[in-house]
Symmetry: C2
Subunit: 105 residues, 2 copies
DNA sequence: AAAGAATGTAAGCCTTGGCTTACGGTAAGC
DNA sequence: GCTTACCGTAAGCCAAGGCTTACATTCTTT
């Protein structure tokens, strides 16, 4: 799969846990992995995917890599959902009104 | 996998296309499948998953099954993202302010 | 320069799950 | 009642991808 959007990326439970741990602030890979039931390399691979999707940023600090959430990735996901939200809700609303018309002739 | 949330479910591209086609209004399975590059049973399976996740509702009309988006599923996904959005953005904001403090002593 | 710490990468295994074909079931029309 | 339309389900195949172990790399420290 060449391109993975935010939904693809956040689908995996472990990757979601990684992402949710970053919610409280930046973390190094080691500290990130120490609270999860998978190995450190596994976390590293998840971070790579999250980074490619624009959901996290990376910053080097000596021998450590500090990861933090990139709000731009969140914004893209939010806008997708918002757009969906609007049209889907409009359709739903119109549908309900049609049924109301039938109910009260 | 016993329980699948909205993110898991909407991760699959085909399933996302099914869901997005329902955005414009209710559709029967056959019509839904006729615009997609997969077989009708495949669409049927996707609809089952979407239904279990509370993202669509089903209604019988003769021999046809009409599917439509269930706004409640969308609402759950939205609230998850909103909660994430708030805390992640707070952390990001506090972080930027710390760097500003260092920049202008 | 040598050693240690922290992380990314490669290779391989193995489960998950999406797709197809084949089949079963139910409702409408003749 | 028999046929046709429409749909869900079962079984099986196969690619995608997550995990681990082993190794390579880079930076710091002494």
């Amino acid at each position: 799969m060449a391109y993975r959007n935010a939904l693809d990326v956040l689908a995996d439970p472990t990757r979601r846990r990684v992402f949710e741990r970053l919610r409280r602030g930046p973390l190094a890979v080691g500290r990130l992995a120490s609270g999860l039931p998978v190995s450190r390399p596994a976390v590293s691979q998840h971070l790579k995917v999250l980074k490619e999707a624009g959901l996290v940023r990376e910053e080097q600090d000596g021998t450590r890599r500090i990861y933090r959430i990139d709000p731009r990735g969140l914004a893209r996901l939010r806008s997708w959902l918002d757009q969906f939200w609007d049209t889907a809700l409009d359709a739903f609303k119109a549908e309900v009104e049609r049924e109301d018309d039938k109910g009260t002739p």
